[in-house]
Amino acid sequence: MRRGIGLALSVGVLGFVVLLSLWVGTKNIPFTATWDLLLRDDGSGDAAIIRDVRVPRALLGVLVGAALGLAGALMQALTRNPLADPGLLGVNMGAAAAVVSAIAFFGVTSATGYVWFALAGAAVVSVAVYVLGSTGRGVVGPDRLVLSGAALGAVLYAFISAVLLLHAHTFHSFRFWNVGSLAGRTLEVVGQVAPFILPGILIAFLLAPSLNVLALGEHTGKALGANPNRTKGFGVLAITLLAGAGTAAAGPIGFVGLAVPQVARMIAGSDQRWVLSYSAVLAPVLLLGADVIGRVLIAPQEMEVGIITAFLGAPVFIALCRRRKPARL
């Protein structure tokens, strides 16, 4: 009951943040006018700003935030490691390696152009990590996936660094993608990633009961009739869809997937159905809230959302870790 009220409150906060994100910006538009222009397009410049710039940005913030939060929660549940984030599966490194190649070797320069490369890179690398992490007989322990991801990640990091140091102009474009930002994304980007994120969300929630069984350990889970390897396979599929599409749309924003599931567990305990629900709602609150703050902090310039999420989210996270006993995975 308490968890239900908390979740309803969180949804309310998310709604508030979405409204803020439509209203606040470099161009000062009154609140009531914002509302009117949202409902009917009067052809003015203000209408264009709200309908073509702020609406896609808010939509993308909610989608990407939910995707990163869920992917992080799934990753931590699958590996039972609080250090795990979707990046460990090689998603970020795969996407980054593909984006670096796109800039250096194919001359791609726009956010819309990066999306397909990033998606493909994330998918290829996370499949490679999964295959490596589940070779061999017997039940696959969680450490294998983590170590495989770290090992392949190091190889990709070496590749990325080498290309960046050899091609200075690539580094110039890449460093802005690499921070993570929602700025300058159009409805087209939303359309590109939504077909990946929405099925990912569905799979994540369908997996929740099996994740609860898996939390008892591979062997106990198996004895209780769960199929750990199938759960893992679908989990990896969902993480790839969610984090791959999220990273493709907004760049690697690591902190959301890492911290939000921890907070969700502190609030909701260890039942994955609640952890996933809270993660899906709280992550967009953090991402979109940080995006709004980034717009007003050094106006008329903008601070990238990737910088703000960590800088403002981390102190809250640290305070929570100090107050509460970390929930067990």
Binding site: L132, L147, A154, A158, L166, R175, F317, I318
Partner: protein
């Protein structure tokens, strides 16, 4: 396992661990010789040896004593220091992913270095000092924030993640706001390298290891007890909090000196202990083996970047990432195919 007894002292030694350490040391020696004799100015082993005893001509003296030897020694010692630091932290946190970044060290030291490079255009010494100072401060902050009637490993790791993320965001901010040259210099530092390292660097890292290595090995015995869990270790007579603080201090000190000398060379601290643990088949921390593997990894990596890309001075971190990563992938794959459950 063999037990050696001399009078009141007895020592348990694993034969496989000793053999592995000897093999790693031999490989390191082979790599070192190769590094000394090959390159733009090829020498024979005899010429190198006669240069050591002061019999070489001017050119070979410059190549051997000023260029190759200090760089080789720096690499060897930095690798050992990073690997030791990683081994201690992985064992303390009981997490195979742990490396000096879990206590905020890596990101914290990067903040200092990038700030010096980007904001003040500082030289090599200023960058090294900046990185060591901010790294140590960040780690101290993480420890103090995690301190609350003792430090639990899980809380330390989580707070380390939070602080690291904060520092990372500062680093990203500095890199995106810097000029392209400043950002490139910062990126090169972030990968870590051994270009232009001289005797000053060798002296710093050697002095640090001379103090910290014995401390690490001495505390290593209690580290094995800590791995059983805080309660069991307390029951066996270990002062858990004090031992943990001492081990953290040693690990951070090693990482700080290594980073100040060569930058945060990627992946050595994470991979070397894992490789050592898998090669020796040991269940405990295995600090000596980790240090040897770390040294080897860095020396091989540096040889690779020097000989494969002689024209562009790529940082050694690229090679350690690629070689260490691929080797770990191969090792994991073969081990797991055999059906080991670890």
């Amino acid at each position: 396992m063999k037990t050696i007894r001399t009078g009141p002292l007895s020592l348990r030694v694993s034969e496989r661990a000793v053999l592995t350490c000897l093999a790693v040391a031999a490989l390191t020696a082979v790599t070192a010789v190769t590094t000394m004799v090959t390159g733009d100015f090829p020498l024979t082993v005899g010429e190198v040896l006669s240069t050591f005893v002061g019999q070489g001509d001017g050119a070979s003296e410059f190549v051997v004593l000023t260029l190759r030897l200090p760089r080789l020694l720096t690499g060897l010692l930095v690798g050992a220091a990073l690997a030791l630091s990683g081994a201690i932290l992985q064992s303390l946190s009981r997490n195979p992913l742990a490396s000096p970044d879990i206590i905020g060290f890596t990101q914290g030291s990067a903040t200092g270095a990038i700030a010096v490079i980007v904001l003040f255009q500082g030289g090599m010494t200023a960058v090294a000092t900046g990185s060591a100072v901010t790294g140590l401060l960040t780690s101290a902050a993480v420890y103090l924030l995690a301190l609350k009637r003792g430090v639990q490993s899980s809380r330390l790791v989580l707070i380390g993640i939070g602080v690291s993320a904060m520092m990372l965001s500062v680093n990203s901010y500095l890199i995106t706001r810097a000029t392209l040259e400043g950002a490139l210099a910062a990126q090169a530092w972030l990968v870590g390298g051994l270009n232009n390292r001289g005797w000053d660097h060798v002296r710093v890292i050697a002095a640090a290891l001379a103090v910290l290595l014995p401390c690490a090995l001495w505390l290593g015995r209690r580290l094995a007890l800590l791995e059983m869990g805080d309660t069991a270790a307390t029951g066996l007579g270990v002062d858990v909090e004090r031992t943990r603080l001492a081990l953290l201090a040693v690990a951070v000190g090693l990482a700080a000196v290594a980073t100040a000398v060569a930058g945060p060379i990627t992946f050595v601290a994470l991979a070397a202990p894992q490789l050592a643990r898998r090669l020796t088949g040991a269940s405990g921390p295995g600090l000596a083996a980790a240090a040897l593997v770390g040294g080897l990894l860095l020396v091989v990596g540096d040889l690779a970047v020097q000989r494969l890309f002689p024209t562009t001075p790529l940082p050694v971190g690229i090679a350690t990432g690629a070689i260490g990563g691929l080797y770990l992938v191969w090792l994991l794959a073969t081990e797991w195919r055999k059906g080991s459950t670890r």
